[in-house]
Symmetry: C2
Subunit: 209 residues, 2 copies
């Protein structure tokens, strides 16, 4: 199956089979797809929590409009953007470049200063938006990796992110829950899997100039 087939196969799963678990091997594939995501400057300014613990998930479900995917899926992926200490994250990134590519460190350090200045110049609301956007790219890679393995998933914005931050202790870590996705296997009882996909036509969506 190619990417288009996989995109047509997937859907936002409303009911997961709580008895079916994603294998460790498949989880490593999903993690690698996320790890290889594109991000602004390549910074990967986020951390991804994979929540399996039942008690934590019960608490998170309460902070997610009681949506049962949170507890019934095999795992819950929580994509958290960093909100603080960008200079340190850039320094870490520059170190990764030097150790991976063996690049001359003066040029690379100058590049690091350029990135720091660019981030610093952003108005606070724009910086917040910019760092959260990067997690959407990573989450999208998760969705496509799931579809390739015929694992179901449900991208979700409908949760109380401040409650998530509190339950998961994210504030202390300079992190913020930006977007989430439970993954696992659809239940036969999930009627939404039979619905036709709703999409604009190409004519509505694209304009060539």
């Amino acid at each position: 199956m190619n990417l288009i087939d996989n995109l047509n196969w997937r859907y936002a799963t409303k009911v997961f089979d709580p008895n079916k678990k994603v294998s460790n091997q498949d989880l490593e594939f999903l993690k690698e797809a996320i790890r290889l995501s594109v991000s602004s400057y390549g910074l990967q300014l986020y951390k991804v929590l994979i929540i399996e613990n039942d008690e934590i998930r019960a608490a998170l479900r309460k902070a997610s409009w009681d949506q049962k995917q949170i507890t019934d899926a095999s795992q819950l992926f929580v994509f958290c953007n960093y909100t603080l200490d960008y200079d340190r994250h850039v320094d870490d990134y520059i170190q990764r470049i030097i150790s991976t590519q063996g690049t001359a460190s003066d040029d690379v350090k100058q590049y690091g200063e350029f990135i720091k200045t660019s981030i610093d110049k952003m108005p606070a609301a724009e910086r917040k938006s910019w760092s959260e956007k990067q997690t959407y790219l990573a989450m999208n890679n998760l969705l496509l990796a799931c579809a390739e393995l015929k694992i179901d998933a449900c991208p979700m914005e409908g949760f109380d992110n401040q409650a998530y931050n509190q339950i998961l202790g994210l504030d202390e870590l300079g992190l913020n829950a930006a977007v989430i996705a439970p993954v696992g296997y659809r239940s036969a009882a999930d009627k939404t899997q039979q619905r036709k996909k709703i999409r604009k036509t190409k004519e509505e969506l694209f304009k060539t100039a």
Copy 2:
């Protein structure tokens, strides 16, 4: 090749071969992958411009730090989020649901009102961020579709989006250029293609709880 292989194959292409063009058949595949992107509520609150015209691209290049990918790639994809008239977009969406799924229109209309209220309640900065985020999901689908077809691409945030809006006449259409990606074929002269990918380790990026 699977998704991981494709992700390892791709890179942010700095130099495109200006003589190589993406075929119409491949373009249709890229458009279909974008069309099938996930989006908040399924609204697809964006339009995607595919810029081929040389004069327009020369003007856009000036608004993109003179980066030559803008003019040398085969096409430039500009992902534009809608900034106005959300109620109308929701109404259009509800009509798409009714005509695609033949759903009982009262339930669906109620769902439309729920979406309108949710969007309306967002603070302005959050609404802006939210609608722009959706374009990142669509852009990511483009990148993965390109990688599957061995087409090169370069995701870019480094452009003057107000200049883009002006050059492309987007303000009048209630649109805003959020993120862009030139697509085409790498030049043999692009040395960045030989660089090792810089990524955090899985241990740095993930935490299981």
